[in-house]
Symmetry: C2
Subunit: 341 residues, 2 copies
């Protein structure tokens, strides 16, 4: 399996992207195509033992920066690592693409190069969150669509369910809507309308979930609009960071605590995992005609490797094919029987 | 100063409400009117030393439960502690009202009994959040308005600024919009439109803030719609709860850690304060014609006392008068000068 990696994307590129790709080639049995400035990539590669034929370089002279306007950057930088990476999928030279670069530009480029799966109104970015029960849930959309219509949310639920089935192996995934009350009339108008649609659907919709129970392991798929989902993701990130910083500070100021630190570590593993992108790797972009993984901008080599693994798992699980199949219009079987006798 | 308390409101009423009221009378130099079922309140009071003339009881035979439909409950239970409490303000027998009961019903009853301050389109629930810098910020709306228009957000910003000035003593409070990117074109349509309004306003609007920086102390007033704000509040609550539970579990399982625990406590004070309603007490409902504090449903006596203190501070600061003044239509001065020469 050959996966393309935006070797110039993210805060730590190309140092960490190249290292992550090397690890992925060794550990996951995949081939990786590093897309980016050839001389910079060769310089990085020269620091490591020769990787062998499973690591390839595809030259791209431009780089889209994190703060660039997504649509303009994609339009103007045709020879960027991002645009060239999608070309590789389009040409059939790679089966998936991973980028830790400008995520808005990644969504735009994916839509331009690959297009939406037929029937999907809006692709969504999905993130796995760990829970206190140990089983992760998939939260979507976490940022591709700031403004949503109720039907988008229904489709997110469907795509999320298929992902959890195919990649995580959860049978009949429990779907919830993130809201501000459990009753079906609670929430904003979008959520109330989406609730009605989900209730009528054939998904395993178990109702609304409030934020304080998000990490209790009560759901497999948490559906939200991209604005709320992104706020949720970033607030969680900020809180976890603050918490770990407070703990670290306490330990640094106290020798007896330093002695006890190794005892605390396993207990806090679940915690640091909470928003540890190195653990879960990247966020799949669901609903486009190809496997695309958006990694966190801060990704280190470990996170890049895990994002490449996410890509492999999505390809192995046949996520794109499952969504294509799930969104195919149902054939009208025995049409005449629906006619009155 | 006489403040009415919904003695039947909240998960721990009337046990904790009565205790909190007793503490408030002793410590804050205020008078408290306990509103609720007289016999139950007298029974609670009999457990404590005689409180003296500063603690009064106003009988109300009904109780609105946490899960009741707000508007229906308020309409049907005219003799509830909630409805009777607002009557006391209306009659001038109390200057403020505090409830840890059904918050939706509290908003409905406040609107019915007191009405909106002239010019205010929607009242908002505001919550103080602690930050890593030590100075709290006010976040609003955290739940009164699930669907907002841009102008509501502009008004929330104005009310929040007045509160921070009058109660917390912050000069020229820094206002931000919670969004998913710092640029003015980032966010959903509501946020983009509200950004334009805030930019034109005479408030000290410093731009959008992303969730991961929420607790960094970069703002005094954080403006958001009531859906996002409520999700934010509850997710923070859930995350803090999970952190503390993980830590507690680790300490319980390890004797050396138990020995080190007292060292860790001060470092974690900031953390548990994060969503510790006992510390900050209640959330003011801003924009109605009276001082109303909504306390957390789980409030204990300490939280009730602090909510009563919040009420006292809001009255002392003249928050209602300041909002009334701030929303008064500007008189057209020198009208003729605006006419073309």
């Amino acid at each position: 399996m050959r996966i393309a990696l935006d070797a110039m994307g993210g805060d730590n590129a190309p140092h960490e992207t190249v290292k992550g790709a090397l690890w992925a080639v060794q550990e996951l049995g995949i081939e990786v195509i590093l897309v980016g400035r050839a001389e910079e990539l060769e310089a990085e590669l020269s620091k490591h033992p020769k990787p062998g034929p499973k690591l390839l370089v595809e030259p791209a002279s431009e780089v889209i920066a994190m703060e660039e306007h997504p649509a303009m950057a994609v339009r103007n930088k045709m020879d960027s690592s991002l645009v060239r990476g999608f070309d590789l999928i389009k040409r059939g030279a790679a089966v998936a693409f991973v980028s830790a670069g400008n995520s808005g530009a990644t969504v735009v480029a994916a839509l331009l190069a690959l297009g939406r799966i037929r029937g999907v109104e809006r692709p969504a970015i999905a993130t796995l969150f760990p829970t206190s029960s140990g089983a992760p849930f998939l939260c979507l959309d976490v940022g591709a669509n700031a403004d949503c219509r109720p039907n988008f949310l229904l489709q997110f639920a469907k795509m999320g369910s298929l992902y959890m089935e195919k990649v995580i192996g959860v049978g009949n995934p429990r779907v919830v809507l993130l809201s501000i009350g459990e009753e079906e009339n609670k929430g904003n108008q979008l959520i109330v309308d989406a609730h009605a649609l989900l209730k009528k659907s054939d998904l395993n919709f178990v109702g609304n979930l409030e934020g304080q129970h998000l990490l209790d392991g009560l759901a497999d798929v948490v559906v939200t609009d991209g604005f709320t989902g992104n706020v949720l993701l970033k607030v969680s990130e900020g809180l976890c960071g603050l918490f770990l910083a407070l703990l670290k500070g306490a330990f640094q100021r106290s020798l007896p605590l330093q002695a006890a630190a190794p005892l605390l570590k396993p207990a806090l593993a679940g915690l640091s995992q909470l928003l540890d992108y190195a653990e879960y790797g990247g966020a799949p972009l669901l609903g486009v005609e190809g496997t695309v993984i958006i990694a966190h901008g801060r990704s280190d080599a470990q996170a890049i490797k895990n994002a490449l693994r996410q890509a492999k798992l999505a390809v192995d699980g046949g996520v794109v094919e499952a969504i294509r199949e799930g969104f195919r219009p149902k054939k009208a079987v025995g049409l005449s029987t629906s006619e009155p006798g």
